[in-house]
Symmetry: C2
Subunit: 335 residues, 2 copies
DNA sequence: CTGAAAGCGCTTACAG
DNA sequence: CTGAAAGCGCTTACAG
């Protein structure tokens, strides 16, 4: 076993180079106003010791920025959020900042605790895919740092927000199957606490209203959150006396579950599936599909850009709300 | 515009509660040996100010732990790594620690920079899916903190390592199609720098050797890293004078690309596809598949557990190398 | 049970 | 160009 190996400090480097700590600090911060000879001495002393500045110590001085951004998402194992994260990381990483990541598992209490902890770690800004529609604990005014909200708008919170055109995308997708003559379109999504689902349901209703087609409550399932619960919900819809003649699924995970239930029993003219969000291999499925898609990495990139703008600019102006487009991307219905 | 809002400090709380900073510190650290009356005063002062301790300032004292773990992965948009991350997060989060995340994009220089930066931020431990097979910069002895390597073993590095039984899984999958009479099995994977691919190729060769079936170099493609490059490689294999009668793909992303090339031209008896890694909807594909699977979250969980053990135990003993099983999980070949 | 002093690793004025 | 002093927000001994 080696000894606990205290990490070298500024002072160690100074001692080794035979200069004051101030000179080392100057060299580390760009080396302005330091004689080249001294600078070289310091640089080689630092290299020999494998010295790495303690960023935490540095950042306790007021005015010093931590170069740390907090990102809280609800769920990392869902590929959709992984894509959002990828978009965030690209922008934040390129700005030379690091990411402190937290997973809320859609639990508001955990989300609050994550925020508090991150604030304690001196994040300069926060990007959140909120676990709920409420949330005064996410207010930038209260936290004292910029906040960008991704994916869902938050009631009564002043913060930059980016989301997807859920209503418009769902509307377009549903319209597609209504135009094709379908009259009993099922909605399979999550409950009222998931505001993307709420808005996609609004698009569903709107499309029916515009087309003058009645909505049947028995076809609306709001208890599907993942692959398994979606599969169950669709099986139950299939068992109705008068089953749906088309399906709308509010996320790609729900679409996967729905397909597991639908494909095995697909007959001559299977009820088409309208999926909000694309998924791998959608293009190879023999099952009739309408894919409503949007750009998940762009959601992350936009949130990150809004955050950086507000972090860098002391007078960034009023909060903005950006809605990214979502539209029917691919259709594999016959005819 | 509100004022820049200096965050409240220990001193602010002390002043408001009419006590010394020491008393506040004691209350914050559990409240042992503080008169209940004072403790309550401090607690309400802290609550009123919405005080949050500056963890960075706290952690500069020697002996104080940062409760921060670094995680570096090569790629976050690949669902496989998102699953690994999910496993890591579950274990680390439950231990009350936070995650500083870095994406190396398989770039060794960026990986080095990320490590250096994270060390500067006082991480207590590091989990890495390495971008390459080398890497003295990942040595725990050099870094002075525990390191857990996930997914690929690193030559000449003393560190806890967890990986998947690549050789065994590939062997079993290939054996399956050789037993079914296939004699020209293509290998589609990445190059020598991706050691999982290297080991899966070893399993491929071993299965051929054991079965006494020759390996044809023209059927081995090591230039597939993602969906698009895999699709291209398989198209070129299909154009060979004597095309393969089966395919092995080294990852699920490669499988998706291969399917895009194979399914549209599938005839009577399409060449079966052996995929290392499961993927969504594999169970619904009409294309003949052999799925070799392993537990990606378990890879992350195991790495995190190995790291925590070494972080908490000053004498954790010699480094361990854990190999998680991988086996044929599902077969949709006819007959 | 409570607090004044010293110090963690670094940087910001301020002298020279 | 260089460094001694003071201080960031916190905690660790040490007195009382």
């Amino acid at each position: 076993m080696e000894t606990p190996a205290r990490r070298p400090t500024l002072r160690d480097v100074a001692r080794r180079a035979g200069v004051s700590t101030m000179t080392v600090s100057r060299v580390l911060n760009g080396g302005e106003n330091v004689r080249p000879a001294l600078r070289r001495k310091v640089e080689s002393a630092a290299a020999e010791l494998d010295y790495r500045r303690n960023e935490n110590a540095r950042s306790i001085r007021p005015g010093q920025r931590s170069r740390l951004v907090g990102v809280i998402i609800t769920n990392i194992s869902n590929p959709y959020y992984a894509w959002v994260m990828s978009g965030i990381e690209g922008v934040i990483g390129r700005s030379g900042r690091r990411i402190l990541v937290g997973i809320s598992h859609s639990d508001v209490e955990l989300e609050k605790e994550l925020v508090r902890d991150m604030i304690g770690r001196q994040i300069e800004g926060l990007i959140v895919v909120p676990s709920d529609s409420g949330g005064a604990h996410l207010s930038p005014a209260r936290l004292g740092i910029p906040v960008a909200i991704a994916s869902r708008p938050l009631a009564g919170i002043e913060a930059d927000t980016v989301m997807v055109d859920d209503v418009g995308g769902a509307f377009e997708g549903i319209k597609h199957v209504l135009d094709a003559g379908r009259r009993r379109v099922a909605f399979v999504g999550a409950g009222e606490s998931v505001s993307t689902s709420v808005r996609r349901l609004a698009g569903y209703r709107l499309a029916h209203e515009r087309a003058g087609v009645p909505v049947f409550d028995e076809l609306i399932r709001r208890d599907a959150n993942d692959v398994a619960s979606a599969e169950t919900a669709v099986r139950q819809l299939l068992a109705l006396p008068e089953p749906p003649d088309a399906y709308f699924t509010a996320t790609n995970r729900i679409a996967v579950g729905a397909l597991r239930a639908l494909q095995p029993v697909a007959g001559e003219d299977p009820p088409p599936l309208v999926s909000f969000d694309d998924f791998d291999l959608a293009g190879l499925m023999s099952y009739p599909l309408v894919i409503v898609d949007h750009d998940a990495p762009a959601l992350g990139r936009t949130a990150a850009q809004m955050l950086l703008r507000r972090m860098d600019d002391p007078e960034p102006g009023p909060y903005v709300q950006v809605t990214l487009p979502s539209a029917v991307k691919r259709v594999t219905l016959k005819g």
